[in-house]
């Protein structure tokens, strides 16, 4: 490894920024994929994988994805909850790959709720 200049050091800092923010728990958007047994059966894993991929492609390092248990609407799985900083969480249901891509594009990146897929706005406290 060659000796670093100040600019190189800044570059490293940016490169690891995502990890840093994730560990600090500071983020502007959080997407929760509901992954109970029913969710997984209904394809929640595909949703998770797609999300991880499109977040990476977006080059945004302030968006995190996490999983939680069954949301209680097994017939409407797979489901995700999108939570933008300072706004109420929105639940989306019966998702597939193209729907989650649209939600990501519209809601997560541009702040516009995709009403046609939305199940509920607000959150009944998670366990």
């Amino acid at each position: 490894m060659a000796k670093l200049s100040i600019a190189d050091l800044e570059e490293i800092r940016n490169k690891v920024k995502k990890s840093t923010l994730l560990r600090e728990g500071s983020f502007n958007a959080k997407i929760t994929v509901h992954m109970g047994t029913c969710g997984i059966a209904a394809g929640a894993r595909t949703i998770m994988n797609t999300l991880i991929q499109i977040i990476e492609e977006s080059k945004r390092n302030d968006i995190i994805v996490t999983n939680s248990g069954c949301a209680g609407f097994c017939s409407k799985e797979p489901m995700v909850t999108v939570e933008l900083k300072g706004e109420s969480p929105v639940k989306y249901s019966s998702l597939n790959e193209s729907k989650i891509k649209k939600i990501f594009e519209e809601h997560v990146l541009n702040g516009r709720i995709v009403a046609e897929y939305a199940l509920a706005i607000g959150n009944e406290r998670e366990p």
Partner: protein, 595 residues
């Protein structure tokens, strides 16, 4: 692919000794088995501070805190939490005396009352990855110093911050740097004191284990400020993990050109080496430390000249403690004002303490100056276990003293702690409950200093020995009326006639316990009783009328001192009893009195 979740596994010394590397290994295997290894990263961090609950795992970004994990717990945990998204309650922390688990780390009292500066990267980075440190603004302070600040700016900033040495003495750090900078000589040295000899203290070890670059960056900034190009970290051999992490960190910093010649292309040269000490307490004293680095026997020398004028190899040398160094980058980046806004008038910033002894949450905490002892012991430390009463806290290790429960409102501040007769010290806090005998505590610490005295000064060498003999006699019930006076007289002489801090402070534990717990000394001497029921030779075991004659005690007694007919009250032959306490522990009917 990017990771969505980071599992931060504590790899501090305490957690490692409880098997955290095994937990980590099984975690990685299980995650791989479940096909999650592309989205979940397992990271080894330094000590999280909550060592009593180890092995500890924190899941980010959700901040879920798991404790006391075993490798057997892991498959279930991985399936439930990481695959199905259901955090596992039974592996979470429940505060003593409460019923519900606390899922997130930030809701646990032990963590959320702390204020992190020296430990700012605790649990957030892998200490063996320099990039992790850089990501948390690491080496930004160095850039600031190299590009925007003069030597005097740096010194002024540290002076304005009010930072005082965290190694025990509490000397203003900026002033020390200024003296060293103004000392004549082109060759100067920077030293980090990581000897950490106080029994029960492990703040410095933990800082190096969890964030070695914070110390390296601090030393770099100090080197620039005083104009030094060589540095030494003096660390005890008993800290193998800390040494290994420090070596790795130095290596990585060298590779990046953050140590060595022409650092960051700004024309400044500085390099660092490690000197391992053999673990003598006296080698933490700065002049003894210098002698030890020079390859001589680690014995203190007279000051002046102070190291800032004539230190290592006779050159101006600036010595600071690990925690002091770790504060420096934060002060430079966040400003002296912000640091000075925390704390009291004369004690700024934070202090790291290791909480040990009779306390629920044993561990490492960093708290703002000005917090009270009670807040530390009860709000953060969770109070005294088993419903016992808080009796006293020993601060400052063998150089310090015992502060009684009545003074629990004392604030953490150099002057306030000194006023009690104890000292801030380097951060050891030993909590004692009603079953702790204060004469015994004094004896314990004096025994330590007595053994660690280098022997150069007669009073320190022999005076402490005589004091120790008196304390031993008192604990055995052979104390005499004049003993207290003798102890006080010897203490005064040792304080006056010792060359270094070891001797000068060695009598402090005796003096403070005499000040606050004189009645316990008197009870030992006059009544031949130990009020805390701790000194074995002063105890008597007797069987009372509640005895139903079950014979359990007689069966466990190692000396067959207990006799009696079945279903009749038993009797202890005091001549045979060796006061082991086995009968007391086994009796189910409270029929044995310990007095």
């Amino acid at each position: 692919m990017e990771f969505r979740t980071h599992i931060m596994v504590c790899a501090g010394t305490a957690c490692v000794s409880c098997g955290s590397f095994n937990v980590k290994k099984v975690l990685e295997e299980e995650i791989k088995k479940r096909g999650l290894d592309k989205e979940i990263l397992v990271v080894a961090t330094g000590c999280q501070g909550f060592c009593a609950q180890g092995p500890i795992v924190v899941v980010q970004p959700d901040d879920i805190f798991y404790q006391l994990l075993t490798p057997e717990d892991v498959p279930f945990l991985v399936e439930e939490h990481f695959l199905k998204g259901r955090p596992v309650k039974k592996m979470m922390y429940t505060p003593p005396g409460e019923k519900t688990e606390i899922p997130t780390m930030s809701e646990i009292g032990f963590f959320n009352k702390q204020r992190l500066i020296a430990l700012r990267n605790k649990g957030l980075i892998d200490a063996e990855q320099i990039d992790d440190y850089i990501g948390r603004n690491g080496y930004n302070a160095l850039i600031k110093v190299l590009t925007e600040m003069t030597q005097d700016d740096v010194i002024k900033s540290i002076k304005d911050s009010g930072l005082r040495g965290r190694g025990g003495g509490g000397f203003p750090t900026g002033l020390k740097w200024e003296i060293c900078k103004n000392s004549k000589g082109d060759l100067k040295y920077i030293i980090c004191n990581a000897d950490e000899g106080d029994p029960g203290a492990y703040m410095d070890r933990s800082i190096i284990e969890s964030d070695p670059h914070s110390v390296i960056e601090g030393m770099l900034i100090g080197a620039i400020a005083i104009g030094a190009h060589e540095g030494v970290v003096y660390i005890r051999t008993e800290y193998p993990l800390a040494i290994k992490r420090l070596e790795t960190a130095i290596e990585q910093a060298r590779e990046y050109g953050l140590l060595g010649k022409d650092i960051l292309g700004k024309g400044f040269d500085f390099d660092l080496r490690i000197k391992q000490g053999a673990g003598a307490f006296v080698c933490g004293e700065e002049t003894a430390l210098l002698a030890s680095i020079e390859g001589k026997r680690g014995m203190p020398n007279k000051r002046p000249p102070f190291p800032a004028e004539s230190g290592l190899w006779g050159k101006p040398t600036n010595i600071n403690n690990v925690e002091t160094w770790a504060n420096i980058p934060w002060i430079i980046l966040n400003g002296a004002d912000r640091f000075a806004s925390i704390g009291t008038e004369k004690s700024k910033g934070t202090k790291v303490f290791s909480l040990v002894g009779k306390i629920n949450n044993t561990g490492l905490v960093e708290v703002p100056m000005g917090i009270t002892l009670k807040e530390i012991i009860f709000d953060i430390g969770g109070g005294v276990p088993n419903g016992k009463k808080f009796k006293a806290v020993q601060m400052g290790g063998p150089s310090g003293g015992c502060i009684p429960a009545e003074l629990g409102d004392t604030i953490i501040d150099y002057d306030s702690v000194n006023a009690t007769g104890a000292i801030m010290g380097s951060g050891g806090m030993v909590v004692m409950d009603e079953t702790t005998c204060m004469v015994d505590v004094a004896k314990y610490f004096l025994n330590f200093t007595q053994a660690e005295s280098c022997g150069k000064c007669t009073f320190c060498r022999i005076g402490t020995k005589r004091m120790l003999e008196i304390l031993q006699r008192i604990c055995e019930g052979k104390g005499e009326e004049e003993d207290i006076e003798k102890l006080q007289e010897l203490a005064a002489q040792i304080k006056d006639s010792s060359l270094c801090g070891l001797g000068q402070t060695a009598p402090n534990p005796v003096l403070t316990t005499l000040k606050y717990f004189r009645h316990e000394y008197e009870a030992h001497i006059r009544d031949k009783k130990c009020p805390a029921k701790s000194c074995k030779t002063l105890l008597t075991f007797e069987i009372n009328d509640k005895c139903i004659g079950c014979g359990a005690c007689a069966r466990v007694c190692p000396t067959k001192a207990i006799t009696g007919e079945k279903k009749k009250k038993h009797l202890i032959d005091q001549a045979k009893c060796i006061k082991c306490g086995a009968c007391f522990d086994i009796c189910k009917f409270s029929s044995i009195d310990k007095n």
